[in-house]
Point group: C2
């Protein structure tokens, strides 16, 4: 038996999604086959409407349905702090904490010689422009604590060394709910170095 | 920040898929946001075309793009054996083995008092009809080796007890590549009971 072509095509397309292998794609496709028509058309519409309805904020490159995103246009946000992140998903993650009330800047990547990402292929020039024209007092570097993230953080920190900006990066240490015994040496080392006085 | 509505809706719809939680749905949605328009429209089209292009075989309830599926209409298949399965995915699994050349019958479920599935809500009547009008010599029951599957197998076996049909069920035993040490007692027990003479 050959799987009917429309199903085969859907399995093929679904298995291009991240973390979705051939078997999961088949399970999803068969689930969709059994789903009611309403759900099918809602799902297909919502996928299509991504490209037509969502665009990039022209200031911070966050996603938005309007010209400027609701963070950049909000009068309640602190316009003296800018948080540099790699990707939109990082904004969602930081926003979920309710601990930050400043602006953002989405780099759209990090420096990586291996994948050929250099200074011109991520939005560093746009960041310089914003810093020059804005009234910022602090840059928070919220990049992933890996080699590429560290390299990019150091590059940006060096770039603004001569300015009067305070340049910080988010803390490394034990994750909340974590366990000293199972943490790696690098993390514990950083946690000891960056220890905080208990008031 | 609130996530833009079109993205929020897509995350909501994606998280209704089996095995896809809120976090995975968000990752998939952000991946789709970054994908090129070609892929987006191909994916959305292939989801929509499921309902318009695929239908059920009017004989065995397999999926097909024509009135009768290519297994039921193939002159090469053995029309004296019928393999009863729970779902279309089971046909795909059995076909993949290249060990079976008969026909199929998709029940569309198994008897389950817990979920309220009784004899009338799965395709047992249709199976009886086929057996009556066909020229079958053997029914293979290929249902899952769990309580519901066993119950359904026993029910069907009893139903055709008076007929001259040979009624078999697929073997239980150690999975190929499995390990005696880690197999459960029930499986090893079945494997011993159903031991096969080495020729």
């Amino acid at each position: 038996m050959t799987i009917p072509e429309p199903l085969e095509i859907l399995i093929e397309e679904l298995s291009k999604l991240p973390g979705i292998g051939k078997k999961t794609a088949q399970r999803l496709a068969l689930f969709l086959l059994r789903s009611d028509e309403n759900y099918i058309s809602r799902l297909s519409d919502s996928i299509l409407s991504l490209k037509t309805k969502i665009r990039q904020c022209s200031i911070c490159f966050n996603i938005t349905t309007t010209e400027i995103c609701d963070i950049c246009s909000s009068p309640k946000r602190d316009r003296s702090i800018i948080c540099v992140v790699e990707d939109i998903s990082d904004i969602i993650a930081v926003e979920r904490t309710n601990e930050y009330n400043g602006l953002y800047h989405v780099l759209g990547g990090v420096l990586s010689p291996l994948t050929g990402r250099d200074v011109d292929s991520i939005r560093i020039k746009e960041l310089e422009e914003r810093i020059k024209n804005g009234n910022f007092k602090e840059i928070i570097l919220a990049l992933n604590p890996d080699t590429e993230g560290e390299t990019t953080s150091l590059y940006i920190a060096k770039l603004f060394k001569e300015s009067n900006l305070k340049i910080t990066r988010i803390a490394r240490g034990l994750p909340v709910g974590g366990n000293l015994e199972f943490a790696d040496e690098a993390t514990i080392g950083r946690a000891v170095l960056n220890r905080v006085t208990i008031q």
